[in-house]
C-alpha cells in the first residue's frame, strides 16, 4: 500500500492493532471511534461473533480531511487475536504502514503476549518486511486492573520491548493511553515519509 501518492495527492496510512486475544485491540478502536466528532464519523465495521470476539477484523477508517492539499486517511485495523486465525492475521497485516502491539498486562497472560509478539515478527517476515523498520508502538493495556493481577510496566518492558520502541500504559476501556498510542504510531508512520519509506 502506498503511503503517499503524489499523483493522486493522497496519504493513506494503514495501522494494524496486533496482540493476543482479549488484550483490548477492538476496545482501542471503539474508544477512538467514540472520540471522533459526528461530522467526521465514518462507519466502523466490526465483524464480531455473538460472544464478542473479533472473528474477521475490525476496520475503522479515519478521514482526516485535506491536509496540505493531501487527502489524508487513516485506516485502523485489528486482527483476531486467537491463535487459529493465523491466515486472517497475515492478510490484515499485509501492507501495514504501522503496527500497535496491544499487550495484556495481566500476569497470567504473559505467555500469550510473548507468543503473539513472536507471531507478529513471523508474519511480518512472511510479507518480506523487516520488523526493525516497521513503525511499532507497544501498549500495555489493562493497567487499571488491581495491582496483584497485573505486571508493572517495567516488568512488561523487560519481557516484550527488547527493541526499545515507544510504549504506553493504557486503559483502553476508559481512554487513558489510547490516543497517546495512536499519536505515537501515526507520528512514526508519517516521519517515515521523510526517509523515503513511502511512495
Amino acid at each position: 500500500m502506498s503511503l503517499v501518492n503524489y499523483a493522486a495527492r493522497e496519504i493513506t496510512c494503514k495501522i494494524v492493532y496486533y496482540g493476543p486475544g482479549r488484550s483490548g485491540k477492538t476496545t482501542n478502536l471503539h474508544y477512538i471511534y467514540g472520540q471522533v466528532p459526528g461530522d467526521r464519523k465514518g462507519q466502523m465495521v466490526s465483524l464480531a461473533t455473538q460472544t464478542d470476539r473479533t472473528l474477521f477484523f475490525d476496520f475503522l477508517p479515519l478521514d482526516l480531511g485535506i491536509i496540505s492539499g493531501f487527502t489524508t486517511r487513516f485506516q485502523l485495523y485489528t486482527v483476531p487475536g486467537q491463535v487459529y486465525y493465523q491466515t486472517t492475521r497475515r492478510l490484515v497485516l499485509q501492507g501495514a504502514d504501522g503496527v500497535v502491539f496491544v499487550a495484556d498486562s495481566q500476569a497470567r497472560q504473559l505467555d500469550e503476549n510473548v507468543e503473539s509478539m513472536q507471531d507478529l515478527h513471523a508474519n511480518l517476515a512472511e510479507h518480506g518486511v523487516d520488523a526493525r523498520t516497521v513503525p511499532l508502538v507497544i501498549q500495555y493495556n489493562k493497567q487499571d486492573l488491581p495491582a496483584d493481577l497485573i505486571l508493572t510496566v517495567p516488568e512488561l518492558e523487560e519481557q516484550l520491548n527488547f527493541r526499545g520502541v515507544p510504549s504506553f500504559a493504557a486503559d483502553a476501556l476508559h481512554g487513558p493511553g489510547v490516543f497517546e498510542t495512536l499519536r505515537a504510531v501515526s507520528e512514526q508512520v508519517l516521519r517515515k515519509l521523510s526517509t523515503g519509506g513511502g511512495g
Binding site: 503517499v4 503524489y6 499523483a7 496519504i11 476496545t27 471503539h30 474508544y31 477512538i32 471511534y33 467514540g34 472520540q35 471522533v36 466528532p37 467526521r40 465514518g42 462507519q43 466502523m44 465495521v45 466490526s46 465483524l47 464480531a48 455473538q50 464478542d52 474477521f56 476496520f59 477508517p61 482526516l64 491536509i67 496540505s68 492539499g69 493531501f70 489524508t72 486517511r73 487513516f74 485506516q75 492478510l91 476501556l173 476508559h174 481512554g175 489510547v178 490516543f179 495512536l182 499519536r183 501515526s186 507520528e187 508519517l190 516521519r191 515519509l193 521523510s194 523515503g196 511512495g199
Partner: protein
C-alpha cells in the same frame, strides 16, 4: 426449472474474467441457433456460469417471445429421461425436445459415466441442431476434461464455441460489490467495499458471503450507535460519550506532521522523482539530493534535470532515426549518462563500423591467372565491373589453398577502389559471421547486428560452408541474403565444395547460392605454377631463369600454398648450403630427398612462417624418385 428472474445480463458485472463468455452468450441470445451452437461455458464454481445461462434465456425470451426455452440442470434432464423410459414414452420425450428452440443445461460435468444419458443427449443434440435449435451448456471444466464421456459427444460439445469464465480481478470485485449494494440499497462509507475487495476471493459467492457478513455487522453496529449501551457488549461499557477533544488534538498533531513532511523541499523533490520515474527516467541524481541534510536549490535542480531530460529526448529521437533498435537503449533514460548517450548517437550517426572490409594484402593485380582459374577470374572481373548485375551471388569453390580467399578479397578491394571509400564492402570469414551473430544474440543487440550487415553495399563471405548445420546462422544468412540481393547489391561467397555438396545446408540457402554463378578454381596448371613460382621467388629476393621455372613447374603441387611452401623450403636449403638457388639445388632438394628427410630441412625455415605449411601432409610433393612416382601413379 424456472429461470431465476434476478439473473439477467443487466445485473451481470462484466470483467476481464468473463468478457468473452458474456459476449458469446449475448450473441447466442440475440440469434439462437445461428452463431455458436452449442455454446459451452465452463469455469470454477461461483463465477457466474448459471447467471450467464439464465441471462441468455431471459434475453432470448424478451427478443423472441414465441421461442420455446427449456432451462434445466443435467440431473433434471436425466430424471426426465428415466421417467420417459420407464413410462415407455421415449418418443414423446424426443418430440418434446425437438420443439425446443433454446435448450439451457446447467452442470453437464455430471455426465460422467452415464452412458445411456450420453447416447440420448447425443441423439437429442443432433435432432435439435438439425431443427435449428440452440444449445447452451455449462460445466466446471472443458468438455475434453469431463471424464468417461463418449468421444462423439465430446466432439459435438466442442463443435460450437467453448468459453471459460475466470475469477474476477480486483476492479471487477469492487464493481460486483457495488452492484450488489445498489441492488440491495445498502450504503457503505467509501473505502469499505474497496477494502473488502482487496481480499483475494476466488469466486463471486465467497465475495457475496463476505459482503453479507459486513452487512450483518453493520446492522449490529448501527443499532449500537443509537443505543448508549451496546446490546451485544454488556461487558464493554461504551467509551466516553462526548468527544473530549482528544481527537481534535490528535488531528492537529497529525496535520502538523504532515505539513512538515509533505511541504518540505524533500516532498517537492519526491514529487519530481515520482513523476520522472513514471516517465521512465532514472532519477538517481534527485534521489541523492534527497539525502542532503540542508535544502539545496530545488527549483534550480529541477530545472537542470528537466533540461537534461529534454536533451536526452532529442538525442533519442536522432538515434531512432538512424537505427530503431537504439530507441530502447537505457542510456537515453539516465541523465547522468548523457555523455554515453551523446557518444552513442554520434556513433550511430557516423554509421557503425562496417563488418570488416577486404584485406588490402590481397590485390587483384597480384592474382595470377591461368587456365585452372580463368573462369573464376573472368567472373570476378565481371562482378567488379558491374556489381550486383551479372552474377549474383558469385560462389567460388575449390580446394584449400587455390586462391579463393585471395580472389574474394581482391574483388572486395577492386570494388572499393572503383567506387571510392564510401562503398561499404563486408568481407568476412563465415566463422567471424557466426561469432558476431552469437555475440549479438547474447548481448541482445541482434537488431543492430542485422542493421549493420544490411547496410553494406556488398557482402562477401569466405568459407561459407562453415554455416552448415548451424540453423540460426542459416536463418539469419537467408534473411540477409534476400535483403542484399533484393536490393541489387553484390554477394560473393567462397566454399570448399559446390553448394550441392555441402552437407547440412538448408535447401533454401543452397538454391539461392546456386542461383547466381557457381565457379570452381582448380589446382594450378603447369603454366600457372610457373608464373606463381616466378612471382614467389622474386618476392623472396631470388633470381629465377626459364630453366629453373620449367623444372619447378613440373612439381605436382596442388595449391598456391604448396608453391609458397616449396619456395620457402628451397630458400632455406640454399641458405643452409650457402649455394645459389639453381636447378641443381632444386633437383637435390625436390628430386632426391625422401619426404621424411625433407621435414627437418623445412623445420629450419619454420621460424616466422605458418606452421601449417610445415605439416608433413602438406609437403608430399617430393616423391623419392621418378621411378617410384610412376609406379605410384599407375596404382
Amino acid at each position: 426449472m424456472q429461470l431465476d428472474s434476478r439473473l439477467r445480463f443487466d445485473s451481470l458485472v462484466v470483467g476481464a474474467g468473463n468478457r468473452l463468455g458474456v459476449a458469446a452468450a449475448r450473441a447466442v441470445a440475440e440469434s439462437p441457433g445461428a452463431v455458436y451452437n452449442p455454446l459451452f461455458i465452463y469455469g470454477g464454481t461461483g463465477l457466474g456460469k448459471t447467471h450467464l445461462l439464465c441471462s441468455v434465456g431471459h434475453l432470448a425470451a424478451a427478443l423472441q417471445p414465441q421461442l420455446e426455452i427449456e432451462y434445466l440442470s443435467l440431473d433434471e434432464f436425466v430424471e426426465q429421461l428415466h421417467a420417459s423410459v420407464s413410462a415407455g414414452q421415449m418418443d414423446a420425450f424426443s418430440r418434446r425436445y425437438e420443439r425446443v428452440g433454446l435448450l439451457l443445461i446447467d452442470d453437464v460435468q455430471f455426465l460422467t459415466g452415464r452412458r445411456e444419458t450420453q447416447a440420448e443427449l447425443l441423439r437429442l443434440f443432433e435432432r435439435m441442431q438439425t431443427a435449428g435449435g440452440q444449445i447452451v451448456l455449462t460445466s466446471d471444466r472443458p468438455p475434453a476434461e469431463i471424464p468417461d464421456v463418449d468421444e462423439r459427444l465430446i466432439s459435438r460439445l466442442s463443435g460450437g464455441l467453448i468459453v471459460d469464465v475466470t475469477a474476477p480481478d480486483y476492479e471487477t470485485r469492487v464493481a460486483i460489490l457495488r452492484a450488489n449494494c445498489e441492488e440491495r440499497q445498502l450504503e457503505f462509507k467509501s473505502g469499505v467495499l474497496e477494502e473488502l475487495a482487496r481480499f483475494n476471493f476466488n469466486n463471486v459467492r465467497a465475495l457475496q458471503g463476505a459482503l453479507n457478513r459486513l452487512v450483518a455487522a453493520k446492522a449490529v453496529t448501527a443499532e449500537e450507535e443509537v443505543k448508549p449501551e451496546p446490546p451485544r457488549t454488556p461487558a464493554r461499557p461504551t467509551p466516553a460519550e462526548r468527544p473530549t477533544g482528544e481527537f481534535e488534538s490528535f488531528l492537529s498533531e497529525v496535520t502538523t506532521v504532515v505539513q512538515q513532511q509533505v511541504e518540505s523541499w524533500q516532498a517537492r523533490l519526491r514529487e519530481a522523482v515520482a513523476y520522472w520515474n513514471g516517465e521512465g527516467y532514472r532519477t538517481a541524481v534527485l534521489e541523492r539530493a534527497l539525502t542532503l541534510t540542508k535544502a539545496p536549490d530545488v527549483a534550480g535542480l529541477l530545472a537542470t534535470f528537466t533540461a537534461a531530460v529534454e536533451h536526452l529526448r532529442d538525442l533519442e529521437q536522432k538515434a531512432v532515426e538512424v537505427d530503431r533498435a537504439l530507441g530502447s537503449d537505457p542510456v537515453f533514460r539516465d541523465p547522468e549518462r548523457m555523455a554515453a548517450a551523446e557518444d552513442l548517437v554520434e556513433r550511430a550517426l557516423a554509421g557503425e563500423t562496417p563488418p570488416g572490409g577486404p584485406s588490402p594484402a590481397f590485390a587483384r593485380a597480384a592474382f595470377e591467372v591461368g587456365t585452372s582459374n580463368q573462369l573464376a577470374v573472368h567472373a570476378a572481373d565481371a562482378v567488379i565491373a558491374s556489381p550486383g548485375v551479372k552474377y549474383n551471388p558469385l560462389l567460388i569453390h575449390g580446394a584449400s589453398g587455390v586462391g579463393k580467399t585471395h580472389l574474394l578479397h581482391a574483388i572486395g578491394n577492386a570494388l572499393v577502389q572503383a567506387r571510392g571509400s564510401r562503398l561499404v564492402v563486408a568481407c568476412v570469414h563465415a566463422q567471424q559471421f557466426i561469432d558476431e551473430l552469437i555475440a549479438s544474440i547474447q548481448g541482445g543487440t541482434i537488431e543492430r547486428w542485422r542493421a549493420r550487415y544490411r547496410s553494406v553495399d556488398a557482402l562477401m563471405i569466405d568459407d561459407v560452408h562453415f554455416v552448415a548445420d548451424k540453423e540460426r546462422t542459416q536463418e539469419e544468412l537467408f534473411l540477409l541474403f534476400n535483403e542484399i540481393v533484393g536490393a541489387g547489391k553484390q554477394v560473393v561467397l567462397t566454399s570448399d565444395q559446390p553448394p550441392a555438396a555441402i552437407p547440412d545446408l538448408e535447401a533454401r540457402l543452397r538454391s539461392r547460392f546456386e542461383g547466381g554463378l557457381v565457379v570452381p578454381i582448380q589446382a594450378p596448371d603447369r603454366a600457372l605454377r610457373e608464373k606463381l613460382f616466378a612471382r614467389f621467388l622474386s618476392a623472396a629476393g631470388r633470381e629465377s631463369d626459364a630453366h629453373l621455372l620449367t623444372l619447378l613447374g613440373q612439381q605436382p603441387v596442388q595449391s598456391v600454398r604448396e608453391i609458397i611452401g616449396v619456395v620457402n623450403r628451397l630458400g632455406a636449403a640454399a641458405h643452409a648450403a650457402g649455394a645459389p638457388l639453381d636447378a641443381k639445388l632444386v633437383r637435390r632438394e625436390l628430386g632426391a630427398v625422401t619426404p621424411y628427410a625433407g621435414v627437418p630441412v623445412v623445420t629450419q625455415a619454420n621460424d616466422a612462417r605458418d606452421p601449417a605449411f610445415m605439416d608433413a601432409e602438406k609437403i608430399v610433393w617430393d616423391w623419392p624418385e621418378v621411378g617410384s612416382r610412376i609406379i605410384e601413379e599407375f596404382r
